[in-house]
């Protein structure tokens, strides 16, 4: 008798916990996710980062960054004007879910193409090839790459691919992990940590921010390859082909170069080798 009651309590607790996982913090204006059809219909929902300077940043009602420019260009090629785009916040952990549940039509949010992710979503692109790099204070010449990190304090984001990679690359590294990169940048500027590591695009975005201009620099010795793609609903080859064509057109037009220079160029950042990339064929 007593044990069944406890069983019920346990079941109820588990159910409540599971149900809360399904909630979404997207306050968007309802409506089921649009299909991939082009033709200037109701509009298009695009997932971007809201908190990544230089890539996808929300300031008031303004959206800026390279991802935003790429997404705007691609949407335009698909037949959606800029005012038909509804921007949705796509935090890293929610990107697959946002796509597979149809809450967004595409995700352009520093989304690296990996085999694990390909099992859940389809990718168009890459539209940019980034690499993991180090951000240091501009007067610091002692750090030139991952081999020179002995005795240095490093900072990255909890559980991120960059944090894992640097742990593999530099065993015993003195790594402080925070919830966001902003905290790392604060620590770097104050001198409490010596370097911040993640994709060079993200680093260049911070280095280009007005309040850090001249204080921080990207080392420029990338030690990984992150191929940023546009995440689409799994198996939507038709959409994928259209988006890939749009990316190719953007690169050939020179709009791609403009987007890179406008958003990341301020701190003297040069895209690593392999850029501009050739998008993969859709499958």
């Amino acid at each position: 008798m007593k044990s069944t009651r406890f069983g019920l309590v346990a079941a109820a607790a588990v159910l409540a916990l599971t149900a809360s996982a399904c909630g979404s913090d997207d306050g968007g204006s309802g409506g089921s996710g649009g299909s991939g059809d082009s033709g200037g219909g109701d509009g298009i929902k695009i997932g971007i980062k809201f908190d990544q300077p230089g890539l996808g940043l929300k300031k008031g009602n303004e959206y800026t960054g390279m991802d935003v420019d790429v997404a705007t260009y691609v949407a335009q090629q698909l037949g959606y004007d800029a005012d038909k785009i509804e921007w949705v916040q796509a935090p890293s952990a929610q990107r697959e879910t946002l796509i597979s549940t149809g809450q967004v039509d595409m995700v352009v949010a520093t989304y690296s193409i990996t085999d694990e992710r390909k099992q859940k979503v389809s990718f168009a692109g890459p539209y940019f090839i980034a690499g993991q790099d180090l951000l240091v204070r501009s007067d610091d010449s002692s750090i030139t790459g991952p081999d020179t990190l002995d005795g240095k304090k490093l900072c990255s984001v909890t559980g991120s691919t960059s944090a894992q990679k640097v742990k593999d690359k530099v065993p015993g590294v003195n790594l402080q992990e925070f919830a966001t990169y902003s905290e790392c940048v604060a620590g770097l500027v104050s001198g409490a940590v010596d370097a911040l590591t993640t994709d060079d695009t993200i680093l260049a975005g911070y280095a280009s921010q007005d309040q850090y201009k001249g204080k921080l620099k990207v080392v420029g010795a990338p030690f990984s390859e992150e191929r940023y793609g546009i995440g689409l609903k799994k198996g939507d080859t038709e959409m994928c082909t259209k988006v890939t064509d749009a990316i190719k057109k953007m690169i050939n037009d020179g709009d791609w170069q403009t987007a890179v220079d406008d958003n990341l160029g301020a701190a003297g950042y040069k895209p690593p080798a392999g850029n501009p990339p050739t998008p993969d064929a859709c499958s």
Binding site: T18, E96, Q119, G159, T161, E183
Partner: protein, 221 residues
């Protein structure tokens, strides 16, 4: 799913969660008892200090306390516990969890003290016990017995709040590891379920035990 269990040290992460819980629970109990004594003491200054502590700490978000421990105290003021960043963050997490939950422990104990008829405190003082002696011999033992249920709730809250340590601690602890698994394998209900189950296993027996204990240890009046 089996791959995730094999590739990631989920048990190890929960072990760190348990370490954080036990260490900070002990700390919270000690600090909370001291603050509770302050709040019922006959000295006005101590009562003010006690209520300031409770109202200040209780109303500050734990995430803020965690982040400010590293960003403010450790980085700006240089109060580092260890040169190794992960060790430093670990002990700051323990301290902040203890400091935060001490406010709740204090209030649970104070409500325990308030269940004791005022006549007992007066009787203790009138037979010549000092404030400290009457606290130790008469009031606190009964207060603890009366406060077991709310203390249990605080402990359960503390265990779940250890996940907030992920904002400074990295992947050593369960919420951080969950973030890493999500990053590598994508978000899945199964992974989430494993971690939710882990916390249910940690907290459910505690709730049952403290409810039983509070019934058995209740002071019969």
């Amino acid at each position: 799913m089996v791959d995730i269990l094999r590739n990631y040290d989920i048990l190890g992460a929960f072990w760190v969660t348990i370490q954080l819980s036990v260490l900070s629970a002990v700390g919270a109990l000690v600090i909370g008892t001291v603050v509770a004594v302050f709040r019922v003491s006959p000295v006005g200054v101590l009562r003010v200090i006690g209520s300031l502590y409770v109202n200040l700490i209780r109303n500050t978000p734990l995430t803020l306390l965690m982040a400010s421990s590293i960003l403010g105290l450790s980085f700006v003021l240089g109060l580092s516990i260890s040169d190794q960043a992960t060790r430093n963050a670990y002990w700051w997490a323990v301290i902040m969890l203890a400091v935060y939950h001490a406010a709740f422990v204090c209030e649970a104990l104070r409500s325990g003290v308030n269940t004791i008829p005022a006549g007992q405190a007066e009787a203790a003082r009138s037979i010549g016990l000092t404030f400290g002696q009457s606290m130790r011999e008469v009031l606190l033992p009964q207060a603890f017995r009366g406060a077991i249920a709310p203390l249990g709730s605080t402990l359960i809250a503390l265990i779940k709040n250890t996940t907030v340590a992920a904002v400074i601690l990295g992947t050593a602890e369960s919420a951080g590891l969950l973030a890493q698994i999500t990053e590598n394998e994508g978000a899945s209900l199964g992974t989430f379920f494993i971690f939710a189950l882990g916390f249910v296993i940690l907290t459910l027996p505690l709730g049952i035990a403290t409810t039983n204990l509070s019934r058995r240890l209740a002071v019969k009046r």
